[in-house]
């Protein structure tokens, strides 16, 4: 190695995070919320009206992380009753799994029963995914790129993004799925060999997020397909993405 590269490398040091499961994120990171049991009906209706994406529902009070855009406004309104923790392990494999009810303060886990058997027997040690951005705003896309970078190095688990659907085991969708992108998404999905996974990455992809009632989106693709993993976030942190995938693969 030439001397100048060596000097840069000496300064650069080893950048990879050795244990991606045990990272503690900064206290302000907005991850899994905790809602106090003592929330009153008045307070509840206040935050239901406040929530920009109707992520908060009633009886019992709960936040749907598939709709939540993590703006934290409900916590600012009721600082004693709602708290966004820095727990970034918030991926789930069912829509119900993303719902956090009042009084709950436990990690979000995958429902082991509904994981398709072939996922772990085929892909446990190597998973190649095709990414399709369907009107994503480029933040989730950048975090997916970051998941493979020198810090997070998802490739160490054999999880990689590939250029062709023919080479892939599944599809990772970002964005609320615009009408203009719906056909290309379907063609890409059809080109992937069986068995194939569908992973929704980001709140936009899971529920449409702030674009949920836009007349320019078309989410009919999701009505006829089975989703294997939901990764919430606006955008999801690389650690949320990687931990979600590892849980799905049973690593």
């Amino acid at each position: 190695m030439p001397i100048r590269e060596f000097n840069i490398f000496r300064r650069h040091k080893l950048q990879f995070i050795p244990d991606l499961r045990a990272v503690e994120l900064t206290p302000l990171f907005r991850g899994r919320p905790v809602i106090s049991k003592e929330i009153t009906p008045d307070e509840e209706s206040r935050i239901i009206n406040l929530c920009p994406t109707r992520a908060i529902q009633s009886t019992p009070t709960c936040i749907d992380l598939g709709r939540c855009v993590f703006c934290k406004e409900c916590q600012f309104a009721l600082p004693d009753k709602i708290r966004f923790t820095n727990d970034y392990k918030i991926a789930a494999n069912s829509r119900e799994g993303l719902i956090v009810s009042a009084g709950e303060d436990k990690p979000i886990r995958l429902d082991q029963v509904i994981i398709r058997k072939e996922i772990r027997s085929y892909f446990k040690h190597a998973l190649k995914l095709r990414q399709v951005s369907a009107a994503g705003d480029n933040s989730a896309e950048m975090e997916l790129n970051a998941a493979g970078n020198v810090n997070f190095d998802m490739g160490r688990y054999g999880i990689e993004f590939v250029a062709s659907p023919r080479h892939s085991d599944g599809i990772m969708i970002t964005g609320p799925i615009s009408e203009n992108m719906s056909e290309a998404l379907q063609i890409c999905y059809d080109a992937i060999p069986f068995p194939k996974l569908i992973i929704l990455c980001g709140t936009d992809a899971i529920s449409g997020g702030v674009f949920a009632d836009s007349p320019a989106i078309d989410r009919s693709f999701l009505e006829k397909t089975h989703v294997d993993l939901y990764i919430p976030g606006n955008p999801p942190h690389p650690l949320t993405i990687i931990n979600g995938l590892l849980d799905l693969l049973g690593r």
């Binding site: 100048r4 590269e5 000097n7 840069i8 650069h12 950048q15 994120l25 900064t26 302000l28 990171f29 907005r30 406040l50 920009p52 994406t53 855009v69 993590f70 703006c71 934290k72 406004e73 600012f76 966004f84 990414q131 399709v132 951005s133 369907a134 009107a135 994503g136 705003d137 480029n138 933040s139 989730a140 896309e141 975090e143 997916l144 790129n145 970051a146 970078n149 020198v150 810090n151 993004f161 250029a163 062709s164 964005g175 609320p176 615009s178 009408e179 203009n180 992108m181 056909e183 290309a184 890409c188 997020g209 702030v210 674009f211 836009s214 007349p215 320019a216 989106i217 606006n234 955008p235």
Partner: protein, 506 residues
């Protein structure tokens, strides 16, 4: 006077105060204005009233910092035909295409009134994504190459069609619209300001601070509220942090495209440090949740200041060490130098903004020409390079990064001097907007000039919202850059601009 002039950015005028011109008068005014090369079109759009379409055209001057607003209207009827401005002033080409696509107005003499983004509420629904009228050339030695809409990497969708002679690109046409989410429609139809603020953060997720700052400035001027100097300083620090992070990320990506992996991994790790600084400050690596109208939920405290200064010191030293090596390698320079050249005449003609303009010698930077609050007191002198090739665009990033870091240090110095003097308020989502008013806000995002315009009705409700991302001007620069290049250099040229798909498609 045939126009109304705004001196401030953001600024507002009463709609009734904008003179309504006869169309030929409007055309001759434009002819007059564009004799001066420092004028360029900030935004040109039309909206629908009960019986007529009203057109608003805002022209900015790079030298004087003025914004001139012109207006004309056309009665609604089948087949409106008006003379095209594009014939003489090419920079209007996409604005006229957009108006044509949205409202069906025909511009006579426009070279090609092709679709822009296939919006859901377009005038002609017979135009669909699959039958875009691509330009083609007949010839036995020519072939066409189509790429997209889904690309090989993890990026947004868009379709590129090249006409090549062997390996050489004769022509590139870019079809966009796949990312259209009806954003401008939602900006008007969503009722709560919090929802609109979140939408502004999602216009382009890589320019969160830029777009949401532009939107917040617009809403604040519309409601006539002033935010504290302290908050203005904090917002600019966030804006510059965003610029630093992206410039480093782009340097990494350009290293990838020339197969210099060492430069890639070092820069990637440096970008992580910068966006993690933003995460430390506001809990999100991209700054989502940071900019709010009227105030901030994340005031800059002593801990954050220390973190920003420490991290920037580390990043600056290592980045300069890395780029020092990068720019001294003949094998790197031979891949950057002279590739993807765009001349001053070309960027001036297409009305390019931001890095695309400044790397080809055109001095166009909102921070210098139309200073938004805080830049008023700290004059900014933009970095200008002249060659217009990939190397200029990489070098420009490095030089802007150094300037941004110096700027952040200055601003933090100001804050430390006057801490406690200017309290930062909590955000407010209940604003009463001025009725019958047009407001315009410009921000220099990392890509270039972002322009948001909105119009309220007589009751103070938003009736039209127009977003212009810098990419709207600059996609044309990419198409020009690859002409005459090897097609294999396309990724390099593309990355050297790093334009936004969703910012264009809205």
């Amino acid at each position: 006077m045939n126009f109304i002039e705004i001196e401030n950015n953001p600024g507002k005028v009463k709609i009734s105060g904008i003179p309504l011109l006869e169309y030929p008068v409007f055309l001759s005014e434009m002819d007059e204005l564009f004799k001066d090369e420092s004028n360029h079109c900030l935004t040109y759009f039309a909206y629908s009233l009960s019986d007529r379409f009203k057109f608003i055209c805002c022209i900015g001057c790079d030298e004087t910092g003025s914004i001139r607003i012109f207006s004309h209207d056309q009665e609604k009827k089948d087949g409106i035909n008006i003379e095209s401005l594009t014939k003489k002033h090419f920079q209007f080409h996409l604005f006229e295409r957009e108006i044509h696509e949205n409202l069906g107005v025909n511009f006579e003499g426009h070279p090609w009134l092709k679709p822009v983004r296939y919006p859901f509420d377009r005038a002609d629904h017979r135009r669909i994504m699959n039958n875009y009228p691509f330009y083609s050339i007949n010839g036995e030695e020519l072939h066409e190459v189509g790429v997209g809409p889904i690309h090989a990497g993890i990026i947004e969708p868009g379709y590129f069609r090249f006409i090549c002679n062997g390996e050489k690109v004769l022509h590139l046409e870019i079809q966009l619209g796949y990312q259209h989410r009806g954003l401008e429609h939602l900006m008007v139809s969503k009722k709560s300001l919090l929802q609109k603020t979140l939408l502004s953060e999602s216009i382009a997720g890589d320019t969160v601070i830029g777009h949401s700052l532009c939107h917040a400035g617009l809403m604040e001027i519309m409601a006539g509220i002033n935010v504290s100097d302290q908050l203005n300083l904090e917002r600019i620090i966030a804006l510059e942090l965003e610029r630093i992070a992206i410039h480093i990320g782009d340097t990494a990506a350009l290293c990838t495209d020339i197969a210099y992996q060492f430069g890639q991994v070092v820069n990637e790790a440096l970008r992580t440090i910068v966006i993690n600084t933003m995460q430390f400050w506001c809990g999100n690596r991209f700054g989502k949740g940071f900019i709010r109208p009227g105030g901030s939920n994340y005031p800059l405290d002593a801990d954050t200041i220390r973190k920003i200064l420490d991290n920037l010191k580390e990043v600056e030293e290592r980045y300069l060490q890395m780029t020092g090596r990068l720019f001294s390698m003949p094998s790197v320079l031979s891949r950057f130098e002279g590739v993807g050249k765009v001349t001053y005449a070309q960027v001036s003609m297409i009305g390019a903004v931001g890095m695309a303009a400044r790397s080809s010698g055109l001095k166009r930077d909102v921070r210098g020409s139309h200073p938004f609050p805080c830049f008023k007191d700290t004059p900014y002198d933009p970095v200008i390079l002249h060659k217009g090739d990939v190397l200029s665009r990489v070098l420009l990033r490095k030089m802007e990064l150094e300037k941004s870091i110096a700027l952040i240090r200055d601003l933090i110095g100001l804050i430390q001097k006057q801490q406690d003097a200017f309290p930062v308020l909590k955000p407010t989502y209940r604003l009463n907007l001025d009725p019958g008013t047009l407001a315009i806000s410009l921000v220099e995002g990392w890509r270039g000039e972002i322009c948001h315009t909105c119009i309220t009705d007589d009751n103070g409700n938003l009736m039209h919202y127009k977003v212009k991302d810098p990419s709207f001007h600059n996609w044309m620069a990419l198409a020009l850059a690859v002409r005459g290049q090897e097609i294999s250099d396309f990724p390099l040229c593309n990355k050297s601009y790093n334009l936004s798909y969703c910012g264009h498609d809205l």
